[in-house]
């Protein structure tokens, strides 16, 4: 079969070839009709936006919930926090992401009316963020539990309070240890962002499905979209590797068994 990447230089209105492939985005041709390449780039930007916002949500909540799961249950407050975080993790990791996206988009706003005013981009990011936070919480918890228990004892023995020992001793090491699994969770997040198309975020997968319908050039379209996804995931991987190098502790060897879930 022959590839025809000329499809990306076609006008999205009538399928005619346009002069400049990047006509609309770079303003090369004023008022020109956008090409499929323009559309692809815009779709990529949406993918990045969804993945970016959900990553922020997921990291904040994931670290918080993962930490709460490990705190010593020695007071009523602590006990209820542990329970809350356990429930959080169980709830958000046992429902498929697609169903969660529908829940946030269709079901919950039906009961909580103000949520309807939020753009679908925000809702889907919440859904993805919460879903991923449950997984990140598990990684963080495992990271904390992978530390020798003596570390916490040593901190407490020096007179640190529980929160001080988390802040100065446990989390700095645990977060370093979980960088490899966090890397794969972040890459998963990029991949999972493809479900956003189901609720009308015009990102790469929506582009792929619509453009392949309009142009009948499925292979080329899917190839381009797949490459962009892989490129995005790879960049995330590189950034995390950089962070890992920057935060490496001299002389400390992490025995990491990379995360297995996806």
């Amino acid at each position: 079969m022959a590839f025809d990447f000329g499809v990306f230089c076609k006008n999205t209105l009538d399928g005619e070839v346009v002069d400049h492939c990047f006509s609309a985005i770079f303003g090369l041709a004023q008022n020109a009709d956008p090409s499929y390449l323009d559309w692809l780039m815009k779709a990529w930007a949406w993918t990045l936006a969804v993945a970016g916002l959900s990553l922020v949500i997921a990291l904040i909540l994931g670290v918080l919930m993962g930490t709460l799961r490990t705190i010593p249950p020695n007071s009523i407050l602590n006990k209820s926090l542990v329970r809350l975080s356990t429930a959080w993790v169980e709830l958000f990791r046992n429902i498929p992401i697609l169903v969660q996206v529908f829940l946030w988009y269709h079901v919950i706003p039906a009961f909580v009316l103000p949520l309807k005013a939020l753009p679908s981009y925000c809702l889907v990011s919440i859904a993805l963020g919460f879903f991923t936070s449950a997984r990140i919480a598990e990684q963080v918890r495992a990271g904390i539990q992978a530390l020798p228990s003596g570390q916490a004892s040593a901190a407490i023995a020096l007179g640190f309070t529980t929160s001080q020992s988390y802040r100065f001793v446990i989390l700095p090491m645990a977060l370093r240890i979980v960088i490899p699994p966090l890397t794969s969770e972040s890459m998963n997040l990029v991949k999972n962002s493809s479900v956003a198309f189901a609720v009308s975020v015009p990102e790469l997968t929506l582009f792929a499905m619509q453009a392949q319908e309009e142009t009948s050039r499925g292979v080329e379209i899917y190839l381009a979209v797949t490459l962009l996804y892989a490129l995005t995931a790879f960049s995330v991987n590189r950034v995390m590797a950089l962070i890992e190098r920057r935060t490496r502790v001299p002389g400390f060897i992490v025995s990491n068994d990379a995360s297995l879930a996806h």
């Binding site: 570390q151 040593a154 007179g159 100065f168 090491m173 400390f252």
Partner: protein, 244 residues
């Protein structure tokens, strides 16, 4: 200085400590020994309020650990503790390991904390390593830093939990030397160890535990000098440990 009265502790149905009572006076050096799993670590951790216990009472410097009004972190800061596996904080440099608790817990200024930290680092003979990270030190060096870290808090008593048993044999000596020095300077010490040479040399008293009970609690001379007055379990243990 430290007083234990009928301390008992259970893990579920399993009793780890049974009615343990003893006391440690200022300036005393007490060695705790006994077979693996006999509750030595649990007992010493209980003194530092790292392990809760269900009945009995532990009083450190006049303050009861069981009292809900006791500010445990503050009390712990005054009791130095050294662990089998050193437990230096791997992401902090040696100097930071020495100063962080002084700054965050005792509220000392950074300068003050560093001066104190380097003084004790010098004392354990490692001033040259002050900017390294724990992972870059040998086990013996790490343990000496850990001792210096505990000393920086100006503790009223030092607790040691098998401080030499995770070390290569070559390095045992350098750590024991530091501990002997401390004992000779009059530091109150309570030390779980199987180094009977150390016990013979500096201890005032030896406590022998088995199955969570304190079986022997007598002066060093009685313990080593008069084996026939000892319980069979202690005698057996001593013979095994001194055989080779």
């Amino acid at each position: 200085m430290i007083e234990l009265r009928n301390v008992s502790k259970w893990y579920g149905a399993f009793q780890v400590l049974t009615d343990c009572s003893t006391s440690i006076k200022k300036g005393e050096v007490v060695v705790i020994c006994g077979p693996s799993g006999s509750g030595k670590s649990t007992l010493i951790k209980a003194i530092n309020a790292l392990e809760p216990f269900q009945s009995g009472e532990i009083i450190v410097d006049g303050i009861s650990l069981g009292d809900p009004k006791t500010n445990l972190p503050k009390l712990r800061a005054r009791v130095g503790m050294v662990f089998q596996h050193f437990e230096l904080f791997p992401h902090l440099s040696v100097t930071e390991n020495l100063t962080i608790a002084q700054i965050k817990v005792l509220g000392r200024s950074v300068d003050e904390a560093q001066a104190q930290g380097l003084r004790y680092l010098d004392r354990v003979g490692l001033i040259a390593q002050k900017d390294k990270f724990p992972g870059q030190l040998s086990g013996g060096q790490q343990q000496r830093v850990a001792i210096a870290r505990a000393l920086c808090m100006d503790p009223i008593v030092m607790l040691f939990d098998e401080p030499t048993s995770a070390l290569d044999p070559e390095m045992v000596g350098e750590v024991l030397d530091v501990m002997v020095g401390l004992a000779n300077d009059g530091m109150t010490m309570c030390c779980v160890t199987h180094e009977m040479g150390f016990a013979r040399k500096v201890s005032n008293r030896v406590i022998f535990m088995d199955h969570g009970k304190i079986i022997e609690d007598c002066s060093k001379d009685d313990f080593f000098g008069d084996p026939d007055a000892r319980s069979p379990r202690a005698k057996d243990f001593l013979s095994k440990i001194l055989a080779h």
